[in-house]
Symmetry: C2
Subunit: 663 residues, 2 copies
Amino acid sequence: MNINQKAVDALRILSADQIQKANSGHPGLPLGAAPAAYELWANHMNHNPQNPNWSNRDRFILSAGHGSALLYSLLHMFGYEGLTIDELKNFRQLDHLTPGHPEYGHTVGVEATTGPLGAGVSTAVGMAIAESHLAAKFNRDGYPVVDHYTFAMTGDGCLMEGISYEALSLAGTLKLGKLIVLYDSNDITIEGNTETAFKEDVAKRFEAFGFQVQIVEDGNDLKAIGEAIDAAKADLERPSIIICRTQIGYGCPAKVGKASAHGEPLGEENILELRKFLGWESNEAFEVPEEIYSHYDSIAKENAIQEDKWNSMFEKYCTEYPELKEQWDIYHSDIDVENIINSEEYWKHESKAMATRAVSGDLINKLKEIYPNMIGGSADLAPSNKSEMKNEGFFSPENRLGRNIHFGVREMAMTAITNGIYLHGGLKPFCATFFVFSDFMKPMIRLAALMGLPVAYVLTHDSIGVGEDGPTHEPVEQLAMLRSIPNVNVFRPADYTETAVAWASAMGSKSTPTAIVLTRQNLPQIEGSSKDAFKGAYVISEASNKDSIDLILLASGSEVELAVNAKAVLEGEGKSVRVVSVPCMDIFDKQSKEYKEEVLPSNVRARLAVEAGGTMPWFKYVGIDGDVVGMTSFGASAPASVLFKHFGFTTENVVERAKKLMF
Amino acid sequence: MNINQKAVDALRILSADQIQKANSGHPGLPLGAAPAAYELWANHMNHNPQNPNWSNRDRFILSAGHGSALLYSLLHMFGYEGLTIDELKNFRQLDHLTPGHPEYGHTVGVEATTGPLGAGVSTAVGMAIAESHLAAKFNRDGYPVVDHYTFAMTGDGCLMEGISYEALSLAGTLKLGKLIVLYDSNDITIEGNTETAFKEDVAKRFEAFGFQVQIVEDGNDLKAIGEAIDAAKADLERPSIIICRTQIGYGCPAKVGKASAHGEPLGEENILELRKFLGWESNEAFEVPEEIYSHYDSIAKENAIQEDKWNSMFEKYCTEYPELKEQWDIYHSDIDVENIINSEEYWKHESKAMATRAVSGDLINKLKEIYPNMIGGSADLAPSNKSEMKNEGFFSPENRLGRNIHFGVREMAMTAITNGIYLHGGLKPFCATFFVFSDFMKPMIRLAALMGLPVAYVLTHDSIGVGEDGPTHEPVEQLAMLRSIPNVNVFRPADYTETAVAWASAMGSKSTPTAIVLTRQNLPQIEGSSKDAFKGAYVISEASNKDSIDLILLASGSEVELAVNAKAVLEGEGKSVRVVSVPCMDIFDKQSKEYKEEVLPSNVRARLAVEAGGTMPWFKYVGIDGDVVGMTSFGASAPASVLFKHFGFTTENVVERAKKLMF
């Protein structure tokens, strides 16, 4: 048996052993797809296990994240830092590098957290966009300093999920020629044969998307796989898909071709059968012959040479193009947010009423100057979202330098692609749509939060203020939805200053995504609004008698004005009323106990929150003695002013509800 | 000019007038797609404006819901009840029948609420499934009592959304030959030409899905449209798409073919130009010549004859097949939920510990006998979700009688299809997946809630109890997400009895979807659990001194056991502790003030909630004096028992946190 075959089988054996030891995991894909993974990693992918952060490495995403054991086996055999055999023995155990699904930031060499099907391959599209944009920006004749491929390995599940269609249809439109999808096509899903639910002609589908389509009939044929990868790499005009026909659970007689191979350990006896079938030399779990380790080592060393060559080239490039080197450094480092905070220009604004979406549009166009690596776009709503960076062009096959992206009507893929752009490195991405459609973004926002990616979401048309478009377009519960996700900062600013704080916070974030929730309708500039908004909540209008407060009004966004107006009425009637603006609960909740007590003194129990959204998020502040003026049903179709009145967002109603709390 | 052309132009004029009067709306699609809509409604669709609820009518869904003015114009011209010219004049105004996007249950003749793109056409797939299932069940030779088409009209946006790929790929697999999609292909989206973001070959894509594909080159050619619809109807093996090449804003010289035609009123001047271009006789807004009304009337009358014929057939059918007539009545009426509540068999269970997902599986198999029209399935997780109805087969081209549906890995489409099955009438659908993937279902759950559809969601693997699969598969914030949606009942039952209550509540619901959130891991049967769970929350374990309660512990699902255990410890130390089980907050919140006070006496402020999910939903009960033992971060990959300990879900920790509240 040749060494390549042994090297493939090592991946199979190690994967099966990990899953068996954990008594949990998915052996089906590793057994079937090991040859394709091996051929790619050993003979086609530029990667340096000694430096997983090499900027010009080829990217690999295991979109079928349940096959994580295969990825850990690869990382182990290639000698990636930390991925010792002991870590493999602790597959799926707490505080180890080998969790059930691959986790970015947790395990070296994992380019993206995957598991929710379709997410990985969509994230890969973002990486390919980033590569081609940065290549256009930085490459010069003889200096392809950004020049790599992005590979994604998918199963049937990934290709059934809507997000993969969205992302890959866009990849075809954008002619991302350096995106290569390896499709582990084994005809089996959890409920049985793909015939039952997935009879589409996948090859034809990808032709429709503008992909180069190749079929490898025998997924064990390393040569055929290799030739297909070569051909895929050679086509720079079209993204590629290589359909590898494989057998789920290959090598395990009792399991091969069966749904039961997918997601449960093979069992001790079947693993012995597997070893026999493969002609594996040892029956000891986790034992790999030294010869195979040496083989992998030699490949890893060759690969390291690729980076050496790139380093030499890059060194010359820096000398020849010092101005580009300077730009490169800006792109590849965190720009200090103090640049924003200290910029007078950034905070300057007129006193007239403005929709916060329009404010955000102005800010984006200020920020794009400070952050030359800012890139973003909208899901076909740029004119409404005010998300376009003026004079920066649109990213397209003809204009790779365009900083605006037409994502099309594809909110979920947009969000995954934004994750991918960030993960690639070098760029600061954002994306935009109507707030109500954050529903479609949610699964990918969750992944951004889990990975700790400081991306930004521009979410406009944030309440019944949408008006005539009606309840399908009016957010109600979306604030609760986003605020409940761990590690997401949700800002709902009240005016220019608070919107500027939200954007500065987003740009300064290191590991937290930021959602910026903005109005369609005009809002006044609020007296008292200030950079204290960086604390998440602050006293925007103090009570007449600070030492004896009768009531605290809390509000966010468009309702801060309403709270201030209600306060004026109540103060006119002799009450001492404080107004607290709460642009970002997530950040306020992280302030010191003292600051929180200062803003919301625990002895003041008459507390009324006002927000044109669901009430759930406010009870942690108003408690059971307080009240919330919010939305308890869906909205309706009518002019916004009519709706605000209809749903009780009037000074009169807020005053009335407040009085009930003060007895 | 012939009368058909005038009839088409009437739709254009009325649509433009509605939008102009409202000063808000989307004229682009109505102007472009009026011919296709007219040809379909006038000459191909079986519908009786006098009886919009005729069970065998053809269904029509305007998936491009922003074109609502076109739909209202059709309903008005055909004389649907309530759609007077005055309603058209009040387009997009509060308390009128003509909201910004079509709303099911609000306006007669609207088959589904649409607006979020892609939703409508996916819902149509559900209607086509329902039709073919009911046809197989009820039709007999010479008696096609269920025999109608389902039409959906889409724009570019619908076809870019991932959900439409999911649903239509499944439609092809299932050979839903009576589903016909009319695609208004006008090459324009909000951000400009579709070339920028949507260059896929749509015809080829639908061939890949197994559709019959036809292209009508001139979307104004009524004859060509009619022939295409005839050919689509004739092909009963394949669903069909008719690609109508149209011009957005047709007839309005200043707007035609421009993105600006999409979503803003044409303007008075342009409307005059439109009238001129069309050769329209009157310049008065909303004025339609009597001759055109008469034309529509005569069509409507002919259509009524279709229903008369069907009624005669159905009458004979009932005589000839009395046992089917009996079944028909069962399918088409609400089965009294008392059938469940009074069934001893339904409540009977063993005392051993069981995962609530397994309990749910048992209940589904009991319910399927009581509800012969129950139908449902999973997004490729039926074995894990325990959602299969045994011995009922799987719905497929070969077995239309199958009551289980293989939805494939398509959570969002599954949810929309479930909506469609319900909307069709005659069936009681549910669908299932892992709870964490409710993220993908969310936009369509929202539509179910907005439409008031009593569908059921089986959501298993509900917490860190998922274990080894890790944080991508462990729900944290999903309970807050679902509980925050208006009009959704979210149950998280603690044992058999509470799960049985959840299912009974779902089956008895008239206008509210029910989410049933279930564990992967075994749970004991709790002493004290009872049908009081129908109230949403109840005292499951009373304090030793009911009149002097030191602490209230609140919990749901798997944490009720934990609360009961913590109570035992605290009572052992002399405290008087009540445990409240909260299987459904949404229902508890609707109970009388007295009942709520009885369960949670306002004088007891030491309240600790315990739930292995985000804390947000609980503060309305525990207030600012209470506390929540919940998840404040994402989960991790490890065996479930390790994780529960790691994240503080232990008796010791609950006891400790409780003591802090009691000073």
